[in-house]
């Protein structure tokens, strides 16, 4: 399968700080998504970003597909940003993977203190 590595595994911030989360992947992908898993286990879609840059409020993401990495930026962090951030990728079609299957990284556990 495809390897998805996220860093850092844990991140502790003071409210108001900025942070960058990284996702490296080992093969060509046609789908990359960032999720936030809240303390109740719900996976919230943040970005669909197989390439390029997107912004949504205090969050933005950049994927450089040719170099096989993606970055998630969180600015002016809030306590509600706490939780686990997952990067998930779908392998490019025809590379021997189940169509639509997402491969998840191990996540970054973010804790924001007031």
């Amino acid at each position: 399968g495809i390897q998805v590595e996220q860093s850092p595994p844990d991140l502790i911030l003071q409210e108001g700080a900025n942070s960058t989360l990284r996702c490296n992947f080992s093969d060509s992908v046609n789908n990359l998504q960032w999720f936030h898993q809240n303390p109740w286990g719900q996976l919230i879609n943040l970005f669909y970003i197989p390439s390029g840059t997107k912004q949504n409020g205090r969050l933005s993401a950049t994927t450089v597909a040719t170099e096989r990495y993606s970055l998630l930026y969180i600015s002016s962090s809030q306590t509600t940003d706490s939780g686990v951030y997952f990067c998930a990728v779908e392998r490019s079609f025809g590379r021997g993977s189940t169509l639509g299957r997402l491969y998840f990284g191990r996540g970054t556990q973010l804790t924001v203190w007031p």
Binding site: N30, N45, L99, R106
Partner: protein, 116 residues
């Protein structure tokens, strides 16, 4: 996007019993998937639920342990059979909507299962 509900939201079960989890979507979807998240771990795909045919299982998962049904384009069930404490996990269904502008997958709220 798609609105997905799962039932039950949580359950505590005795070993040796079975639990059926339901996943309902508010619109027709092309693909439905079932994932497992063991405590403190990432998500792993169990199977793709195929409408009108048998599910497609990933390596390490078998139909006898995780039978899946998908009678139509908006509904699927996953059964966890003959449970053991190792089956304690969050089980999530995900969908990829028809004619999505982007091939985004959406996840249900999950079912938290504890097996004693």
């Amino acid at each position: 996007s798609a609105v997905i509900s799962q039932k039950p939201s949580r359950d505590i079960c005795q070993r040796g019993t079975s639990l059926t989890i339901q996943c309902q979507v508010d619109s027709q979807v092309t693909m439905m998937f079932w994932y497992r998240q063991q405590p403190g771990q990432s998500l792993t795909l169990i199977a793709t639920a195929n409408q009108g045919s048998e599910a497609t299982y990933e390596s390490g998962f078998v139909i006898d342990k995780f039978p899946i049904s998908r009678p139509n384009l908006t509904f699927s069930t996953l059964t966890v059979s003959n449970m053991s404490p190792e089956d304690s996990s969050i089980y999530l269904c995900s969908v990829e909507p028809f004619l999505a502008r982007e091939e985004t997958q959406y996840f249900g709220p999950g079912t938290r299962l504890l097996v004693l």
